[in-house]
Amino acid sequence: MPELLNNSFNSWSSFLLIFSCAMIVLYLARHSAHGAILGLSNALHSMLRVCSKSLSLAGKRLQERNREVLLNVGREHTEREIEKEFYEVSKFVQKDLGDFPEMQREIQSQIQNIQEAYEGAKSVASESPGWLEAIESVSKIKDSNAQVNHKVLEQIKTTAEKQHKENLRALREDSAQRHKMLRSMQPFWRKLSHTIEQGGRRFKDIIERSEKIDTHMQRYEEIQAGTDGALRYLKLSAMTQFLISTLVIAIAAGGAFFNFHLIALPMSEMVGSVQRVGGVKVSDLAALVIICLEMCAGIFLLESLRITKLFPLIGAMDDRKRRTVMILSAVVLLTLACTESALAFMRDQIANEISALRASLAGSLDSGIEQESSLNHWIPLAANMILGFILPLALTMIAIPLEYLLQSGRTVLGSLIELVANTIAMTLRMSGNLVRHAGKILVNIYDLLIAGPIWLEAVIQNRLASSRENSSESDWLENTLSGGTASVNKSSRGKKS
């Protein structure tokens, strides 16, 4: 126990000794250490800040560039849209409005026909009957001739009734004639109504197209002005296009992978599967080359059809050359599709042979199963052959999402790099500030470690200062006193003089 205590005492004393020595050394090196810590932290801070600034600048330049690219792409796209709309309007004007004078003549002739029919259908007012005046004059005759009057009136009545009947018959005939004429007007009305409706529909189309053109033009103006709204719209559109085209490309890649497996085995029958290039079987490479050729032919076909604009040179060719490229691409594509179909047939044969070999090696060959398999053999064979023909044609459509991916990918990638650059710049700036403050904190911790000597220094300095103050006060008193005697002497000397 005493030994243990002795040991602990020794260890404590040695620790205290080392601590004191270290404290003294640290105190002596205080100014140099402070300088080193602060210098290092300041240097790191400056370096990180410079890096952050340069990255920020790069980010800004990238932002500007992205903005330009986005606006250019948007401008091109809108120009294409407007061009397409104008083309449609022009086609409409040429096709539908080209026969407008004819339609106008037709309407005029129909109106004229209607007018003639109308004129013919007008009713002529019947003349007033003559017997009214006769009745009036008979009524004015005196009562003496009542019998005569009665007879006359009877005759007038008979005549009037007869005339009335004749008039009524004539009126009915006339009305029937007019009704007949009006009935003949009906087809003209219908035709006129149809012609006008047709014209109205065509005009409605052109109004809709003009509204679309207005919208495109408005967007085009916004893009030209480089407004924030246009930029936002274009960015969103680019992101959407990028995501959709990526999805479609991924699906196409799946199709290409399936296609590859469809033709890899039969290709080994043609070129062998032992030789390798860069670790990959030559047969696999050959299958890949065929798929790539199909894609290339598809891209050229769509380019020559002016559906895509990956190679502007093809689109800018004159129609004859372009048609030649189109026909060539289509022929190559069809040939490759037929070849793939044949390869799919061959694959089926080889796969059957392999499975038959495995079955025979496993000793499970059964004639019944064989017969059944031969019956069901045509379904997978036909499916393989159809897929072998259709997949290359379907893969040609990859050119459209590829174009969108390349166009939108440029913008999206630029935005991503910009975001990364800005984030790194901000992180560097924060790290720089952190390093500077860490340097200050380290200096304070250093001072904390040597708090004892610093306190002693402060106490000594205070004492020295107070003793210095005391001595200066006594000096001052002495000086003032000596100054007073000197002035008294001077004044006495002056009085004497």
Binding site: L265, S268, E269, G272, S273, V274, Q275, R276, V277, G278, G279, V282, I350, E353, I354, L357, R358, S360, L361, A362, G363
Partner: protein, 216 residues
């Protein structure tokens, strides 16, 4: 200009030639199966047929495969029952496999047991064959109880050079003596294992043939 074109054409031709002449050997597999035909072990050969069939089913164009018997003096080409290097065309390879299977089946059907067992000689023959076949992965499969019994005056004290080889002992059956003293069996297996490892090869013991994946 013409000279430049010629140089470009020559360079492209050379590059194509260098690509197409890449050695296919590092990617191909070579298997040498030794069948023990000594004593009562011939009864086990029916099961060996299944192993051979499995291997045949799994082999790919370019692979090499040979089946040899272990008899009194196995260090001889005459002991190779059947051998083949599979053609690069799958249809031809299928035909080769069928022929191979027929030859092996015939051999197993009419095999006669040998009085001695020269496993070392068979292994040496296997090493020689696989080295000549220039394959990437070399595997020697020993279908035996690993009990070597050499005729008088036969010496097999050779330096084993098995670098890059994998030796797999299949269906190492226990003999009557092994049942009396299992240490004998363990020592026998350990002896072969040390031989292979000292020669620079890899050693595997596969007694459960129900899991054929271990064969490859």
């Amino acid at each position: 200009m013409k000279t430049l074109l010629r140089i470009i054409a020559l360079c492209s031709l050379l590059s194509v030639a260098s690509c197409s002449n890449e050695d296919a050997a590092p990617y191909s597999n070579g298997y040498y199966l030794l069948l023990d035909t000594s004593g009562t072990y011939t009864q086990e050969l029916e099961q060996a047929k299944q192993v051979i069939h499995y291997l045949l089913a799994m082999l790919e164009p370019g692979d090499a495969f040979a089946v040899a018997r272990i008899d009194s003096a196995s260090f001889s080409e005459k002991d190779i029952v059947a051998k083949m290097v599979l053609d690069s065309r799958p249809s031809r390879a299928i035909m080769q496999k069928k022929d191979f299977a027929a030859v092996v089946d015939n051999f197993i059907g009419g095999v006669q047991s040998s009085p001695y067992t020269d496993i070392s000689g068979g292994m040496l023959q296997g090493v020689e064959y696989l080295n000549e076949a220039r394959v990437g992965n070399k595997t020697i499969l020993i279908y035996s109880d690993l009990q070597e019994d050499l005729p008088k005056d036969y010496v097999r004290e050779v330096e084993w050079l098995l670098d890059g080889f994998t030796v797999k002992a299949l269906n190492v059956t226990k003999l009557r003596r092994d049942n009396q003293n299992p240490q004998v069996y363990l020592d026998r297996v350990a002896d072969w294992q040390s031989k292979v490892i000292q020669g620079g090869g890899h050693w595997h013991l596969i007694n459960d043939l129900e899991k054929p994946d271990a064969l490859l």
